[in-house]
């Protein structure tokens, strides 16, 4: 016998009441090893207007490529101070920003390594289900062979790859275009 998963419903416009207590936009406390990065961007709708009532949830491995989760049984160092979870709201102009460390590569199909990436959930008024996407890193040779990027047509792949901004190697920009030209690639997850 199988039950059926509960239907998703939108977070609506007022989710901040319920979700703010768990906001995390600085994922890595001082002392957590890894390359420090910041990722900033905007969430935009099909008219190019900012989405001020969105929230991103991010999930990533530590700098060694190990997740803080019991099912990650890889023999790699755990970092107890690094949980790998972030919850970042957009502001009145649809902007978000979070700081973290660059994740290490984790295994994918056939134990081939995936390129370093951050898993992202997008929640907003108007989204009846969450949207799932990924953030990849610029100048990463492993992007060429990453299995998930390989599922995406070359012309849309760029929507998943952050780019350097502001002349600082660790400062990255990545945007979420919900609809229309330049629409971000979203996954059926």
């Amino acid at each position: 016998m199988s039950l059926r998963a509960t239907s998703s419903q939108t977070v609506g416009p007022y989710f901040a009441i319920g979700l703010t207590w768990l906001e995390r936009s600085d994922l890595a406390e001082p002392g957590v090893p890894g390359e420090r990065i910041s990722i900033e961007g905007r969430v935009l709708d099909g008219d190019g207007n900012p989405v001020p009532d969105a929230v991103l949830e991010v999930w990533q491995a530590n700098s060694h490529g190990k997740y803080a989760h019991p099912e990650d049984t890889q023999k790699k160092p755990a970092e107890p101070a690094f949980r790998g979870f972030g919850r970042i709201p957009t502001d009145d102009e649809g902007r978000f920003r979070f700081t973290t460390i660059k994740p290490g590569p984790v295994p994918g199909p056939d134990d081939r390594l995936q390129a370093p990436h951050i898993a992202v959930t997008v929640l907003a008024r108007g989204l009846l289900q969450r949207l799932v996407t990924r953030i990849y890193f610029p100048g990463e040779p492993a992007n060429e062979t990453d299995f998930a990027l390989g599922l995406v047509s070359p012309e849309r792949r760029g929507t998943l790859i952050a780019r350097q901004t502001g002349g600082d190697a660790g400062r990255l920009e990545w945007n979420v275009i919900l609809q229309g030209p330049g629409e971000t690639v979203f996954f059926d997850c």
């Binding site: 199988s2 059926r4 099909g46 099912e71």
Partner: protein
Amino acid sequence: MKHLAGYRRPYPGTQPNYLSPLYRSSIKRAPTEPLIYLPHTLSEVTGPVFGPGDVDVKACDLTHLHAGEPLGERIVVRGRVIDENGRPVPNTLVELWQANASGRYLHKWDQHDAPLDPNFTGCGHTLTDAEGRYRFVTIRPGEYPWRNHYNAWRPAHIHFSVFGPAFATRLITQMYFPGDPLLPFDPIFNSTPDEKARERLISQFDWETTLPVQALGYRFDMVLSGRESTPWEAK
């Protein structure tokens, strides 16, 4: 690492379409490109883990977070978080938020002309126990008007957020109340095509949950994606 089993995808019709034009906010926010099927990897079968150190034990009683008692009808909402295989989902974080008894949210954008309640914030959280059970004490939320269409009113509802064991099992939903006359007219509730899936969003009045001379009880179980029984293999 050994091959990891992925999580099951939703049964057709049981999840809302991103584009549901009667819910106007979806029109400019729904993606137009088809979603790309992502086989589950270690990134999707893991997910954030929360424990007792992350939660406030008082946050499961929304009626005792302030100096006085909130206005409205006290209710108990309890249920289980289980997966599609019927297994309990223990120790998982459940968050909830809602309007007050007058149908007003404590939010700067809620301009509904109904009073705020200084004794009611409208948010809570808890962890499920070893059997996947959760329990909240709160106030029955009021219905409220919104601007989706002429004379639009949202049925009474409580928002729920559940993580489950993996990134792939994240669920955000809304719980409704039995017999609400607004349900047939609500474009959010009706965005889910499957009638039975919609009905499962409606809580059930429950004598066993009801507290004598104190609070009516409602049951609301939430089902998360179940694990595939066969190990997932790359195509």
